[in-house]
Subunit: 348 residues, 2 copies
DNA sequence: AATCATTCCTTAATCGGTTACCAAATTTAA
DNA sequence: TTAAATTTGGTAACCGATTAAGGAATGATT
């Protein structure tokens, strides 16, 4: 049988209330009894029941983290940031993942809510067909949550990266290298990130007074396999091909580069490629990938911080927005148009 | 305010016990009252408090998963397996990670226990200096847990991969390709996996009646950076170098290959490399990595299954051991000694 | 000496469920 | 017709903590 607060009270010859007061360092307990109680707690190795406490306090000291893909290095970094910050602040993390499936997202969310987490960090799937009503409900109930990336037509606490600006810098970089036929391998239609990056893609052309190549925008996905498939499809066809591809993320870029390798198309001599995220493997690739570095770990940390602050101040749910900078990392996968890129002085 | 079972009871004009019986589908309730209660539950959108239930039932329907590294693709796959199986069986997953630090491992474990998870899936750090007393304690308390990989001098429920056998096959493969000076880039001293793989390394030589090159066994680590560092160190020195390296895992192999590239040493022409795990990136590398495929997802699934079965049958904690097969995946990073490997017919 | 504050601790209700045990109503058996 | 069995539902204790309210000492105040 588990040792309870009653046991401690009995052994120490005091009431449960006194033990509770000692445990919670409340005033009004004499030094002697405090020490006696503490001694007994030590001796019996007593651990207060977190469940009982949760019931009484109406808080579980846990948060739910609902991501899109568990085995995606980008989310792994976020998880780590969330996890570290939560540990530091005394919270536990319950894991959920949609695996890009709206039905599973719903299920996971419900499971998290059922466990009565004190708050949520969400990375909602988004497209035209997905009902975001649950976000409204959460907000209506004043349930603390923050989203990773903003949600269309919705004000909340958000932590995100400056997607559009970063996309502009990536695409401008390609344009300044002489590229005009630049493709965008967009992420899943679910993704607000992808939309923002697309906006940046277009703006870069706009800023350079070139019409954006709308025919080169493809909905792709977020996995290696997606980039591969689209790469095979696009570059196997006859006709004018793009001289550069801006990819939704590094995984897609990796897939694309695998496809290009199979088709004997050289990167960066024939086609330049630029990614997004800067996952660890970028620098270990055949051609080290030029990409946008996203501070994913920090993103996770900030999200956890913001959420826990919100949990603390239950009343005001002011919509805070934290935007973290992203940075172009120049490696070897981009070359000026028409040259072989060997003259590049960029180092990753 | 939250809707409680008392509210439902009141509205339905019955007692809490009756509502509870309906909720838990216990017999002894007439069809009429059952339906009336269910209707009210529907109407008020009542959700039983999981916390209260946990307190009463002494189970939280959650398990703790304590891994070594969150942002390691191998563990990501395991997590996914655990997560999926747990969702299926109605359990939630609380996440913990040691990040290879024994102190943090202890902290994470305590956090998980404090949350009163019903069981644990552990991937314990192991070396001579680490005190595994906590495992004894858990077992003594009859606390359900299973370990990922076996623990030295300790019988428990284990899910693991046939490390030794797989290592034998990898090293034999190198030996049959003519290699004799084969190095082993061992994982962290913490790892039982690494020890088992080392045993396989030695046995392969034994089976081929060649003395194992003990001078070529290096404690390395488990990250890309570790493989890189050791690669630079070993191959920058003068003297006889190994013609092949068997790496503790793919990350180390990637790091090593980065180092070799910098040193203008060709893989596989000059040095053959073989990894372990078969993470997604192996096939996307400069030289696609020959490696051992570990069914990490299945490992996670099995661990969750085993654990939850154990939680169900509280009494018997028979030490079950599930060993999953691993398989050599031949790609491009190994060549016969003295040739350039272009004659290889192996395809990944 | 009576009154008032302080200090320190206890009592008992509460959080939201589960369940052993009991009791009323109805059916069945004798 | 009455006792016994069955069906159905209620009562109250319990899980293990927290906390508001109250009360017994002790010392201070007049």
């Amino acid at each position: 049988m588990r040792i309870t607060i009653s046991d401690i009270a009995q052994y120490a010859g005091v009431s449960k209330a006194t033990v509770s007061a000692v445990l919670n360092e409340r005033p009004g307990i004499s030094v002697q009894t405090r020490e006696r109680v503490l001694e007994i707690i030590q001796k019996l190795n007593y651990q207060p029941s977190h469940v009982a406490r949760s019931l009484s306090n109406r808080e579980t000291k846990s948060i739910g983290l609902l991501i899109k893909e568990i085995d995606n290095p980008y989310f792994a970094k976020i998880m780590k940031g969330v996890f570290d910050k939560c540990s530091e602040l005394g919270y536990t993390v319950l894991l959920g993942s949609s695996e890009l499936d709206p039905a599973q997202e719903k299920k996971s969310l419900e499971a998290l809510l059922r466990q009565q987490v004190d708050g949520l960090i969400l990375s909602p799937l988004q497209n035209e067909e997905i009902d975001l009503g649950y976000l409204y409900e959460l907000k209506l109930k004043n349930y603390p949550f923050v989203t990773l990336g903003s949600v269309v037509h919705f004000q909340t606490n958000v932590v995100e990266v400056e997607n559009k600006k970063a996309a502009v810098s990536a695409v401008s970089y390609l344009i300044h290298a002489g590229h005009k036929r630049i493709a965008y391998f967009a992420g899943p239609s679910y993704s607000a990130n992808s939309k923002d990056r697309l906006a940046g893609f277009r703006q870069a052309f706009h800023e350079n007074a070139i019409p954006a190549p709308e025919d080169l925008i493809f909905n792709t996905g977020s996995y290696i396999a997606d980039g591969y498939r689209m790469g095979r499809e696009l570059f196997a066809l006859p006709g004018t091909k793009p001289s550069a591809v801006f990819c939704y993320n590094d995984l897609v870029a990796i897939g694309l580069m695998n496809a290009l390798a199979e088709l004997k198309i050289q990167v960066p001599a024939d086609v330049s490629v630029i990614g997004f995220d800067d996952i660890d493997f970028c620098r270990s690739m055949q051609v080290p990938l030029t990409t946008i570095r996203v501070p994913a770990y920090k993103l996770g940390e900030k999200a956890a911080e913001l959420l826990i602050a919100q949990i603390g101040a239950r009343d005001e749910s002011k919509n805070r927005k934290v935007i973290l900078p992203a940075q172009l990392i120049e490696r070897k996968s981009v070359a000026p148009l028409g040259r072989d890129g060997s003259g590049s002085e960029f180092v990753g």
